[in-house]
């Protein structure tokens, strides 16, 4: 075997080891996600339904769905996610020996070819600190990816099991709660709109956790003869360039005559029942005072 072939074989063996560890982690992750999905199905099975099996748009159901995000990650942890990750990282640890077998093997092959043999490197404290730093950074990236994968799996499940059709929901509320047609329509429409705003609110929270500046939001939606006065005021202000932070939005009251919000939490309910508007990230926003992007100059 030539020198190059021997080096290639050593490197290929290392790649196989890494692949094996990755595949093992993948199987562990699939198992953790599957188990969490099973738990989620049981949990979602406890949602209140009508006699025809369709989901009801109740506050209890909404609260259960909002808790699902956090619970899904907990179920993944309980299904062995942490130990799977630990096993994965440990497969690269050799009791403080930062010399992977392939590195030693290649060193031996190379040094065997030289007139003056190379000395095996001795890692300094700085080198070891650097390796630890890389390990931590890689770990953070992997954990971030797993959390995102878990969230996506949970969201998909939610859409499959809890996906609500407004007309179906309306007819269920109409028949089960003996509400009027108008009330049923309002409840169904508001539940759906709040559902989507909640998903987007979760995305905004994710961004805010990392950003060191306060996100700013615009009020987006139609301005026409059906728009209520509060929504009209907010939408026109947004069109003229005004934006708000989350703390500012959370103290707003969409029912100004009564001095309260109906339903509560303007960030999720916007103008209230039947509202067609939503909060979006404002495009007129500096990122920590950095120079504007090329397109904004």
């Amino acid at each position: 075997m030539t020198y190059r072939q021997r080096v290639a074989r050593a490197v290929a063996r290392q790649d196989r080891d890494i692949l094996t560890a990755s595949q093992r982690l993948e199987l562990d992750l699939i198992s953790a996600v599957t188990e969490a999905q099973g738990q989620a199905l049981v949990y979602l099975g406890q949602l209140q339904r009508g006699t025809d099996g369709r989901l009801l748009a109740t506050r209890e159901n909404q609260n259960r769905i909002l808790r699902l995000n956090r619970l899904f990650l907990e179920w993944m942890q309980n299904a062995g996610l942490d130990s799977a990750l630990r096993r994965f990282f440990q497969s690269f640890d050799r009791d403080g020996d930062y010399m992977p077998p392939a590195f030693r093997e290649v060193w031996e092959i190379v040094t065997g070819e030289l007139k003056t043999p190379l000395r095996l490197p001795r890692w300094t404290r700085g080198d070891i600190a650097a390796f630890r730093g890389i390990k931590i950074a890689a770990g953070v990236v992997i954990e971030d990816a797993i959390e995102a994968a878990g969230e996506n799996a949970m969201k998909q499940l939610l859409f499959n099991v809890g996906g609500l059709s407004v007309d179906e929901l309306q007819s269920v509320i109409l028949s089960q709660f003996r509400r009027s047609v108008g009330e049923s329509r309002t409840l169904a429409a508001t539940a759906q709109s709040s559902y989507y705003r909640t998903i987007n609110a979760r995305a905004f929270e994710r961004i805010q956790e990392q950003a060191d500046f306060e996100l700013r939001y615009s009020f987006e939606g139609p301005i026409d003869k059906l728009t209520r006065p509060w929504c009209l005021k907010m939408a026109k202000a947004s069109k003229s360039g005004k934006s708000w932070t989350r703390p500012q939005i959370e103290v707003m009251r969409n029912d100004e005559t009564r001095g309260k919000s109906q339903p509560p939490n303007v960030f999720v309910s916007c103008g209230g029942f039947n509202c067609r508007h939503q909060w979006v990230l404002s495009l007129n926003q500096e990122v920590t005072g950095r120079a504007r992007s090329r397109s904004q100059r």
Binding site: V181, G182, Q192, D212
Partner: protein
């Protein structure tokens, strides 16, 4: 960039610093969601202006066929067909109407009255009586000469793909990110409608709102880099 102190009590290990830096040059999920949400805002703003992803005006609304608006929801129409047929059938055949069917008929009549009151109220609010030939009242809704006439009566001259009811299709855009992919999607009830508008059908012209032009993609790249730079500055 922070000043690197290589000696003294605040000294950091230069090697470790730079090796760590390499790992930091991957965008985080939060940064990708930021870019996705900004693109969502762009999609909504240009759709409100009546233009597609290439800034071309949308095809105008139809002026050909009448449009029926049911302010109390489309299910009232199917309910009308189903329940009155059943109840009339029972009465015609001389069967006794069960208590359940009678209750259902009463509820339905209440629903009809409410639908009638709602459409009457909206007819007055939109001042449609002053526009003969454009709109007429039906027992449970309002009939317009065309969909374009319907949108104009709401005070909207632009083709903005927003209906009179919540939730509308554009409220259903969600953003997620995984790996190196940013995903914007419309799911659930609104997905078929969105697909119809975006790709066109035999009855709907193509109005491609759900896409990103090359310019928008460049903006997205800029925004991602800006956020990453802000994070790297804090290292």
């Amino acid at each position: 960039m922070p000043v690197l102190a290589l000696s003294g009590s605040n000294a950091i290990d230069a090697g470790a610093y730079f090796l760590n830096l390499e790992a930091q040059f991957l965008p985080t999920t939060a940064e990708m969601i930021w870019v996705g949400e900004r693109q969502r805002t762009r999609i909504l703003e240009r759709t409100a202006r009546g233009v597609d992803y290439l800034n071309r005006p949308f095809a105008p609304y139809s002026t050909k066929r009448p449009h029926y608006w049911y302010p109390s929801g489309g299910s009232i129409r199917s309910g009308l067909r189903r329940d009155t047929t059943l109840s009339r059938g029972q009465v015609r055949s001389g069967q006794n109407i069960t208590e359940q069917a009678a209750a259902r008929l009463r509820d339905f009549q209440d629903s009809l009255s409410q639908a009638d009151r709602t459409s009457r109220r909206l007819f007055a609010k939109l001042r449609l009586s002053r526009r003969p030939g454009v709109a007429t009242r039906t027992p449970i809704g309002i009939k317009f000469a065309s969909y374009a006439a319907f949108k104009r009566s709401l005070g909207r001259g632009t083709v903005d793909l927003r209906g009179p009811h919540a939730p509308h299709m554009l409220q259903a855009i969600t953003v997620s990110a995984m790996g190196d992919t940013i995903k914007l999607e419309i799911t659930g009830d609104a997905a078929d409608r969105a697909h119809g508008h975006n790709e066109g059908t035999s009855t709907l012209p193509r109005r491609r709102f759900f896409d990103a032009s090359v310019l928008e993609q460049v903006e997205m790249q800029d925004e991602l880099w800006e956020m990453m730079q802000a994070r790297l500055d804090r290292l």
